[in-house]
Subunit: 368 residues, 2 copies
């Protein structure tokens, strides 16, 4: 069931089979180094989010260039990273169900792992899994700082959960998870700044209340590619959980004053039909590129517009008369990088027009 | 890189790890038998579309219950099916590029394969690949019957391509590909009927013109789950290419006078947070269920509405006060079945509340 790699090292980019997920290695490395240099003066550390890249190889590159570890959203991702050598993994999310918690506790023997809770029953479930595995599990309290998805309210409800964690001999209180997801794509910079100022104030208040109860708060984690500068400068967030910064996508580029990273991720597609006048059809539709945040854009082909996707086709409107040839390969900029990556088994790393490497996307897909 | 199966045969459905792709086997088999009985009086044959299911196991069940073979959209799908024992495969699409055509020609030694063209250059490319492989390749002409995506116009342009195919000693003229994709989801039954009446008339005229030039037209293929009754009754289409009928989805169910099949495909998800009042959060977001044709629906839980997806979360609004419990497992009806299947490695076949089988989805993903 492993897919053929669509390329081999040394091959020219135009010979890569399509659809394929290209990673421009110069842009990717630039983004990793830029994030490290932006965070250095703030003192905040990068714990890059692996839900974007789903790959232990990418994770290890991020760690080599300054990240202290990785975030994931699910146990299956934590397993793939730990098995691939990642030493420090936070499941920045709730894990519900005894079998998944048992898998997570087992993983604590090969890597440093931590998980979040937002319910008292979950503290007890984490303690039971840790006890059964004979380990101590680090548990963070997730607080809702504005996204209204997961997390208890900041302040006393968070303190109560933290005290419950600290009272268990099988658990270690790890801190606060305070990600404001919906702030990342607010278009106006001042909206993003205001959202994170409010979130930081909620964190600050909760950290202070924890301290009053004698509880130290090692991690205060949050921040994505759209807002990380605000969290990093807040003086209260100490771990930044950005993921998309490594790749970028069309939706982040639509933010006013967008993040300062280069587009490194592309879907390479082939023109497979030119039979209809004014239309070119690509071999990249819903199963090759995510459209949940809008259609992909054509890279450096301003006269072509990707107007609609079907399962295995993308329809381009030819607007300036310079139609692509049948068989021509074009780069697409995905609308949303995370779910696009998730469709592929391989990154095709390119530099200077040649394939340099192939990296497996081992944690992709709807894994339980 | 093979994902763990999320279940084992014999397990209760509520013990399946999530997210998981469930196939209700009673409903699935009902759908296969119903399609066979609906087509029997028309004389049209079913060549079920594997872009929906991506699995040789599903394909062989369809063939066992009356299908004459399978359609696919790409060479990688054809390979997985042929290697899994499917004897007769039509790539109902154009295949561009010498390496892909070489793979297709190689496959002609283990299965009956055919492919479509809509460009004279592609006829030459198919002939070159067939000659190099030492086989004769069956080639159909795709005509545009209203979808304005791929395909030459019906009538003389189609006849010219057919004559070019028939003139090559390395190729066999296989007939006409005439799928009207955009008609499938027209909401009003009379719109669907009108679209297919027009498409059938285009086919009829082209078949007649081919006959006048001495060319027989073995296959006239088209028809999807939204319109197949019209193609089957037309007297000119002789192969039906429906795929979704086996599974169904929320979007097909929104058609007025929807197709008469049962929902057999579900995403099983777990409630992983209940911290926000009036909200329940599932562990199934963009990477577990496709939203390109709308949000998923809750199965038999009318008080719950799936309002938004993020990468790994689905947010439910609790409208009737009967909130699900933390850890409860819920079935989702995908908005669009094809790209949802494509996210998973395994079907979990269930019957009577128990897991009966696990089938690999070996052709999934953005394969080149």
């Amino acid at each position: 069931m492993l897919q053929h790699p669509p390329a081999e090292p040394g091959m020219r980019e135009e010979d890569v089979e399509t659809p394929a997920l290209l990673l421009d290695l110069d842009a990717f490395e630039h983004n990793l180094d830029l994030m490290a240099s932006l965070l250095a003066p703030t003192g905040a550390k990068l714990r890059a989010h692996a839900k974007t890249h789903k790959s232990a190889v990418v994770a290890m590159q991020q760690i080599r260039r300054g990240a202290i570890g990785q975030c994931v959203q699910k146990v299956a991702e934590a397993e793939v990273l730990a098995w691939g050598g990642v030493p420090d993994i936070l499941v920045s999310n709730e894990v519900v169900g005894p079998r998944k918690l048992a898998r997570l506790a087992a993983l604590a023997r090969v890597a440093k792992v931590a998980v979040c809770v937002d319910d008292a029953a979950q503290v007890a479930a984490c303690a039971a899994a840790a006890e059964a595995a004979g380990i101590r599990l680090t548990v963070l309290v997730e607080i809702d700082v504005g996204a209204a998805r997961c997390g208890v309210p900041p302040g006393p409800p968070a303190v109560a959960l933290a005290e419950q964690i600290a009272a268990s001999k099988h658990l270690i209180f790890g801190g606060l998870q305070a990600y404001h997801g919906s702030a990342q794509h607010k278009r106006a910079p001042e909206q993003r700044a205001e959202s994170i100022a409010a979130a930081a104030e909620m964190c600050r208040r909760t950290v202070e209340q924890l301290r009053q109860r004698g509880l130290d708060c090692p991690i205060v984690g949050g921040g994505g590619t759209g807002t990380f500068g605000h969290e990093a400068a807040s003086g209260v967030y100490n771990e930044i959980q950005a993921g998309s910064y490594a790749f970028m996508d069309a939706d982040y580029a639509r933010n006013s004053n967008p993040p300062p990273f280069r587009q490194s991720l592309f879907v390479l597609a082939t023109v497979m039909s030119r039979a209809i006048p004014g239309v070119a059809v690509l071999d990249a539709g819903h199963k090759a590129v995510s459209v949940d945040s809008g259609m992909p854009l054509l890279w450096q082909r301003p006269g072509l517009v990707y107007t609609s996707a079907s399962d295995e086709h993308g329809k381009l409107e030819v607007r300036d008369g310079t139609a692509p040839a049948l068989g021509e390969k074009l780069r697409l900029v995905p609308g949303h990088c995370d779910p696009t990556v998730d469709r592929y088994d391989w990154y095709v790393g390119v530099r200077g027009g040649r394939v340099e490497c192939l990296w497996p996307i081992a944690a992709r897909g709807g894994m339980a």
